[in-house]
């Protein structure tokens, strides 16, 4: 299959779900069965196509180490925006334009299939689960837009499209979490999910700004090639590290890592199939995919941050999952914890292991969520039957013994639980073992505090086995705690059974490696090779790495030239480094190989002891869990309240940081800024009032005074006009006498 055909097929895979979305949104109500079968059919067809694409990508030729890519990716780009201008990148003017494009390599191919498997099965499952919902067609439309945006994240070859698709999955997540928006909790949870994700997105966006400003392109391969050529953002290693950590912030949000993990448990307010699809298997794994995609450009500083965040997340979430009583909450915290595992793996450089765990986790966690959906559906039916609308159908304290009534659900749930617990012969064992071996190798190579990473990894493995079996025992085994509901419990219909059976089957080792105890001998690990890092300072600067052959320098430089199409890169190749780091990666792989069996044995022992402990506490009642909880009251309360993250954020961030400041700003705006405006108006009016008074009493007063004075004298003089001749004669004589007097005495 040529690269062009492959890309065409991938584009069809990408746009089919969008078609489904538009079709159902526009005509959903008028379609037969509100379009559910059309949407589901489209998704299964799309899955078949995705498998074809995956096979194509697995056969892509291996390359000499092109910076950042083990296989020559099939790529195609179009110019989306041309600014008709240029931008200066390391002294060279390159055209300023934005390209959109797709890229296919094994990583992409596998992700396409994973996304489509879960999407198609969740469509099928939802037909039964969402039956009778008043917004039925809208639900399937939303699933379509989700699949489209998720596939967009996967197939893109540049950061801008990645960010765009990233936001679109945020939208579909918002719409689906808040699907039952009539109720206050889903409405709140949807908003919370979107906003918490946006906090991470700010970081991701800033990281992208750094890269674009430095390199004038969003494309992964071009950016990797620049970095490989030693051309760092703004010329410094620190900026590269900053860009890496900032982009990772996007993953912290989307993959629900500490400290932004709080949205994911609340997201369980959405319909359960949605939880399986978006909030367990695919969208939350997008962060892991992002880190895998950008792994080659992550500097040592960035990777250590990634490893630390992953470790902390895995631990915190596992502890919380130990004590939760809501079936979906346990699974949600389990998801957060497992995502932490994947992030941890990528951070320590166990690239393949991290991505492998993404895939196996997608299958068994989707199975667990759909299984819990099956349980909730049955509980709901039971409660409905006895007209009980107050009991929580998701609380495991109301369940127990369901295995008898729901054998298929129970069996598949158990298979998936064995997988997540890391029991041999199941998929989770293979991938988790790889992660723990990687962490072990990393710890032993770097020493110091990094030793904590494998330690925590093992503790989490034990806790995972414990809380998962606690869940299985309390839900399916023992006696029912509510016989009244139990009576009316029924196994779910076939459309719901097929997906969980399929997913349970996919949780078995055989699909990933024929050898049940060795992942590296399977096709998966062989297909997904760790890309050569393009950064200089890798996390463990081993002495022998530096000494690796200098002859590769020339070769890599030539590749760099190829990728950038001769747009730049002259000289400065001396700085080129991929080689030393590559040697480091080889060292890690060697150490992983050595750690493989010790890690495996340790993890199996821990998993089995976790399972045994769960049986001892909840099945055999050798330890009374309530008494244990009472004895450890402060710890238990602390865990039950999820380490108080929500309370702390609410009390110290949201309320003072946003609402209070917003209110202060409103006050400032109303009374200070606008106060100044109104004050100016008042002063002007006061001044005009004074002017008015002055005008009335002084200016006009003067005018009136003159008039008055004239009038006064007029009245006065009027009295002389008597009409008597004698008086006039007397006036004349007096006048003459006065004049004569003046003439002779006064003037002369």
């Amino acid at each position: 299959m040529t690269a062009d055909t492959l890309i065409t097929l991938a584009l069809i895979v990408l746009f089919v779900p969008l078609f489904s979305f538009v079709l159902l949104l526009a005509f959903g109500k008028r379609l037969p069965r509100q379009g559910d079968s059309i949407a589901t059919g489209l998704m299964f067809a799309n899955l078949a196509l995705a498998v074809v694409v995956m096979i194509g990508t697995l056969n892509l030729p291996e390359t000499d180490p092109v910076p950042g890519f083990p296989n020559e990716p099939a790529q195609a780009s179009i110019t989306w925006v041309d600014f008709q201008s240029s931008i200066t990148v390391f002294g060279q003017d390159i055209p300023l334009r934005i390209e959109l494009g797709v890229m296919l390599d094994p990583l992409v191919g596998i992700m396409l299939v994973v996304v489509m498997i879960i999407t198609a099965l969740v469509h099928l499952f939802s037909i039964g689960y969402m039956h009778g919902d008043p917004k039925y067609h809208r639900y399937f439309a939303y699933l379509g837009i989700f699949a489209f945006s998720m596939l967009g994240i996967v197939v893109t070859n540049n950061f801008l499209m990645m960010y765009a698709a990233w936001e679109l999955v945020g939208l579909s997540s918002y719409l689906l979490i808040g699907f039952w928006y009539e109720k206050p909790m889903p409405a709140y949870a949807g908003t919370k999910a979107f906003l918490v994700n946006r906090v991470g997105d700010i970081g991701m966006w800033t990281g992208i700004l750094i890269l674009f400003t430095s390199y004038g392109t969003f494309r992964f391969d071009k950016i990797f090639a620049y970095i490989a050529a030693g051309q760092l953002p703004f010329g410094s290693e620190a900026w590269l590290t900053a860009a890496g950590i900032l982009i990772f912030m996007g993953a912290i949000g989307k993959s629900a890592q500490f400290p932004l993990h709080t949205w994911l448990p609340d997201a369980m307010e959405g319909p359960t199939p949605v939880s399986a699809l978006i909030h367990a298997a695919t969208m939350v794994a997008a962060g892991v995919y992002l880190v895998a995609r950008t792994f080659p450009m992550m500097s040592g500083g960035a990777l250590i941050v990634i490893a630390a965040i992953g470790t902390i997340t895995a631990f915190i979430a596992a502890t919380i999952a130990l004590v939760q009583n809501d079936i979906k909450k346990v699974l949600a915290y389990s998801t957060v914890s497992q995502l932490g595992y994947m992030i941890l793996a990528l951070g320590v450089g166990a690239y393949t292991a991290g991505f492998f765990h993404l895939v196996t986790h997608a299958m068994f966690k989707a199975c667990l969520f759909l299984g819990s959906g099956s349980v909730i559906h049955a509980m709901h039916g039971g409660l409905h039957h006895i007209h009980d609308h107050d009991t929580d159908p998701q609380d495991i304290r109301n369940m127990g013994g369901l295995a008898k009534k729901m054998p298929v659900t129970f069996t598949t749930f158990l298979v998936a639980t064995l997988a997540i617990s890391g029991v041999p012969l199941f998929s989770g064992f293979l991938s988790k073992d790889e992660i723990l071996a990687g962490a072990w190798a990393f710890g032993s190579l770097t020493g110091d505090i990094a030793v904590l990473i494998p330690w925590v990894g093992f503790i989490v493995a034990a806790m995972t086995a414990f809380y998962m079996f606690r869940l299985v025992i309390l839900t399916f085994l023992g006696e029912s705690k509510r016989p009244d509901i139990f009576e009316h419990i029924h196994e779910s219909p076939l459309t719901m059974k097929i997906p969980i059976i399929t997913l349970a089957a996919l949780s078995i080792w055989i699909f990933y490696s024929f050898n049940p105890i060795s992942a590296p001998s399977g096709w998966f690990v062989k297909s997904v090779k760790t890309p050569v890092t393009v950064t200089a300072g890798n996390w463990y600067n081993l002495a022998h790495g530096e000494a690796h052959g200098a002859d590769m320098v020339e070769q890599d430089a030539a590749h760099t030239q190829d990728v950038l199409e001769g747009e730049q890169v002259q000289g400065t190749i001396e700085h080129h480094i991929g080689i030393a780091a590559n040697a480091n990666q080889e060292a890690l792989e060697h150490a992983m190989h050595e750690a493989h069996y010790p890690a495996m044995i340790t993890s199996v022992l821990l998993a089995l002891s976790g399972i045994a402990f769960a049986f001892a506490m909840y099945r055999r009642r050798m330890i009374n869990p309530d008494r244990l909880a009472a004895r450890l009251r402060p710890v238990h309360t602390f865990l039950l309240n999820k380490w108080y993250f929500d309370e702390i954020y609410e009390k110290w961030v949201v309320v003072p940081g946003v609402h209070l400041i917003a209110r202060m700003m409103r006050w400032f705006d109303t009374y200070v800024v606008d106060g100044a405006v109104n004050g100016a108006a008042s002063i002007t009016r006061l001044q005009s009032h004074v002017s008015g008074l002055f005008d009335k009493w002084v200016v006009d007063g003067l005018v009136n005074f003159v008039a008055y004075a004239v009038g006064f004298f007029g009245i006065l003089l009027k009295k002389t006009q008597t009409g008597r001749v004698q008086a006039y004669l007397a006036f004349i004589i007096t006048g003459v006498v006065v004049l004569v007097y003046l003439y002779f005495y006064a003037i002369i």
Partner: protein, 526 residues
């Protein structure tokens, strides 16, 4: 002499106004139709202009590449004391900077006309004023002579005063006077600088002083008077004065407080015009007049302008978050979104400038849609209190779906137009100044915060009983006003290139023009 299409598009509404005035006031249908036909023809002309527009021509400071130019002697007084010979031209023309604004003005006026059909009080007077306003706005975007620009600028003020003051809400008189006086104060600054520029500029062709803006952009013509020395204090004061004059219109913090009052009191259609077109006149003035005539001062004040952009974005968003009145919230969101325009243009590079002008256009369409949507709700419920609603989605699904589009466009969701312009603004601004750009990204979260919180309060949850019989879904007329905007928002969001091609040549030229001047940069350390 080519066909005077700009004159026609500018004065067509006046013609409509004359017809409206001649019609008896009882004939409401005829009055409404006249307004619809006048603005409809205006849209048609705008589309013709768009079709005939040559995207390769740069314009800005080059009259030869201005398009659809019309130039006639207008006021010619051979000899006057003090002033000497006065020659003022009727000088119109457009380039890539004004073309998007012409399109926007025609479109928004047309849609606002239909939204105005719900006006019941003295319809004749309303539409007469409305059409006069339309002429004023269109004239501002088509003028190349500063005197003419100023005349249109003031022409638009008067009808706006009456439209708010007569057809507005309970506090309409206060809001109208505040709007009028505030804008007039800005006009005074504009007038002062304009007169100063007049006495400093000599038209090379006629040898007398001129109001020709293009002539003012060439330092070779600015040889006399107070603005002759590049980098002088007088020019600095002139730039600041002009900036404040335009900032009031944008509005830029702290000159923005007239906006919430005007928006809350104005009838829906006038809010639409106000947010859709009027605010753009401020940023347009900065780009058309301040930047090319005072390029060295633009460079000098680059960082302060970026800081103001940041303040607008974050301050506007925080204020929006604390509002309980739907319209006031949208008004403050305008303050925030116009901050992106300022941030982008102050970046003084192609990405930022393109983002800024595209954001002007996008904000025009998105916010117009938001105000139309608020109007729909207000027409039914007669209240805008955010806390009085809930569960509107199930009651009004089509309305709510359109609201989702507008809200997410305002939030900057990719595939909708708001994202494209905001992204370009950030790309440009980051290249110029990292600190204030990174701080401005806070707007990404805050913007989503107030919008989604509003959505949650109004559309989600359960419907209060009192609205059960009141809220009907959007009618045909409302759909007719909303859907074109939604289509434009999606089209530009998915494929912005056609829109960008209008402006790229002109904006690239403008950026080069400003950057080719030399000046120190204030606060360069930030």
């Amino acid at each position: 002499m080519q066909f005077p299409i700009l004159t026609l598009i500018t004065f067509l509404p006046i013609l409509g106004m004359v017809i409206v005035l001649l019609l008896p006031k009882e004939r409401i249908r005829a009055i409404q139709s006249t307004a619809a036909i006048a603005t409809g023809l205006q849209v048609l002309l705008a589309v013709l202009i768009w079709a005939a527009f040559d995207t390769a021509k740069t314009g800005i400071n080059d009259v030869a590449t201005m398009q659809f130019v019309e130039r006639l002697p207008w006021i010619v007084i051979p000899e006057t004391p003090w002033f000497g010979e006065i020659r003022i031209d009727y000088f119109m023309g457009i380039d890539g900077l004004s073309m998007p604004m012409v399109l926007l003005t025609a479109l928004i006026s047309f849609l606002a006309t239909f939204s105005s059909f719900s006006i019941k009080k003295s319809v004749k007077g309303y539409f007469a004023m409305f059409l006069l306003l339309d002429t004023g706005m269109m004239g501002v975007f088509c003028s190349l002579d500063m005197f003419l620009f100023y005349v249109f600028w003031e022409v638009m003020l008067l009808p706006m005063y009456f439209l708010i003051g007569i057809w507005g809400g309970p506090r309409r008189e206060y809001a109208a006077i505040k709007f009028f006086l505030y804008t007039l104060a800005g006009s005074v600054l504009l007038l002062l600088v304009m007169i100063g520029l007049y006495f400093s500029t000599v038209d090379p062709q006629t040898g007398v002083h001129t109001f020709n803006m293009i002539a003012m952009m060439d330092p070779a013509n600015v040889t006399q008077g107070i603005f002759a020395t590049v980098g002088s204090t007088a020019r600095m004061l002139a730039f600041v004065g002009l900036f404040i004059g335009f900032a009031i219109k944008v509005p830029i913090f702290p000159f923005h407080t007239w906006l919430p009052d005007a928006h809350v009191e104005a009838p829906t259609a006038i809010s639409v015009i106000l947010a859709g077109v009027l605010l753009k006149m401020g940023t347009y003035g900065l780009l058309r007049i301040s930047f090319p005539i005072f390029p060295e001062m633009t460079l000098y004040f680059q960082i302060p302008m970026m800081i103001l952009g940041f303040v607008n974005i974050v301050y506007g968003a925080l204020c929006a978050m604390a509002q309980t009145d739907f319209k006031k919230l949208i008004a403050y969101s305008s303050v925030s979104h116009m901050g992106y325009v300022l941030l982008g243009m102050a970046a003084l590079n192609v990405q930022g400038m393109t983002g800024a002008v595209l954001q002007m256009f996008n904000h025009g369409t998105i916010t117009a849609m938001l105000f139309l949507l608020v109007g729909v709700l207000y027409d039914r419920a007669h209240t805008r209190g955010l806390d009085e609603f809930g569960g509107v989605y199930n009651k009004m699904p089509v309305y709510s779906f359109l609201t989702v589009i507008a809200f997410f466009a305002a939030i900057g969701l990719p595939s909708l137009s708001g994202f494209v312009s905001e992204a370009f603004v950030f790309l440009g601004a980051f290249q110029t100044n990292k600190l204030w750009t990174i701080l401005s990204t806070l707007g990404i979260v805050l913007g989503a915060g107030y919008m989604l919180w509003t959505f949650q309060r109004v559309f989600m949850g359960t419907l209060p009983e009192k609205w059960e019989d009141v809220l009907d879904d959007v009618n045909g007329r409302e759909i007719f006003t909303l859907v074109p905007l939604a289509i434009i928002i999606i089209a530009i969001g998915v494929y912005p290139s056609p829109a960008l091609n209008w402006m790229s040549a002109s904006l690239g030229h403008l950026v080069d023009l400003v950057n080719s001047s030399t000046a120190e940069v204030l606060f360069s350390a930030f």
